[in-house]
Subunit: 140 residues, 2 copies
């Protein structure tokens, strides 16, 4: 892993830390403020633009019934001067697949797009069992 | 819309044309050959790397029961020298949300990541009815 990839993984970890600790200010600071942003929450239509994306996150993080979240197994793909992180989320122990796209703003990696979606029940047991994904491309 | 955005939308349209016409050669040519690629099909774990991603598409396109697909309502967000397309898919008339990420290779936009996921049944009727999404960020 090179330095750029490590920086992106740190930004991705900060995103999930803000999510897990319900830190609205940290979450808002992690989203890009200049580049256009979008977010596709599980089973929902995409939200486009800061107003709707940040409002959705405030709603999630301020909800007393907000789920627990853990992040596992991130892979970084640099794409020009953007970066794509592919990782698994455990939301109330339910596995989701996440795509997070980052760009640099003022020297820091900021998220411009988050897309999370559920995994079919018939493959879930493999995903929560430990070394899943190896048959799907070598990610562990 | 500027020229770059129009080019990206043309590449996105080519991706869905290859999908709809089950054109394996066109689909393979649309994926990046130098940049790392990944693909998250609906309800499935992410596939990482050319071997697994292209194998999955061959499996889909060569399947005589492959679903019909139409693409609607694409929005482009430039992210540095990558580009993110957010669009809706109608797969056998079931609405899915898609994220497609493109980079330039040899002067052409090539796809490096596709993530598609189903929309919850309780919002589907709005999505198939016509001017959906306006309440979710103004996309029509």
């Amino acid at each position: 892993m090179n330095d750029l990839e490590a920086e992106v993984l740190a930004a991705n970890a900060a995103f999930y830390r803000a999510f897990a600790t319900r830190d609205v200010a940290a979450m808002e600071a992690l989203w890009a403020s200049e580049a256009p942003i979008a977010c596709t929450h599980p089973a929902w239509p995409v939200l486009v633009g800061r107003r709707d994306v940040l409002r959705s996150w405030r709603g999630i993080l301020e909800n007393p019934d907000a789920p627990s979240v853990e992040q596992r197994g991130a892979v970084v793909h640099l794409a020009g001067d953007a970066a794509i992180v592919l990782c698994r989320e455990l939301v109330n122990d339910t596995p989701l697949e996440a795509t997070n796209v980052f760009v640099r703003e003022d020297g820091a990696w900021r998220i411009v797009h988050h897309h999370a979606s559920a995994v079919a029940p018939n493959v879930r047991e493999r995903l929560t069992g430990g070394d899943a994904f190896s048959e799907f491309g070598g990610r562990n």
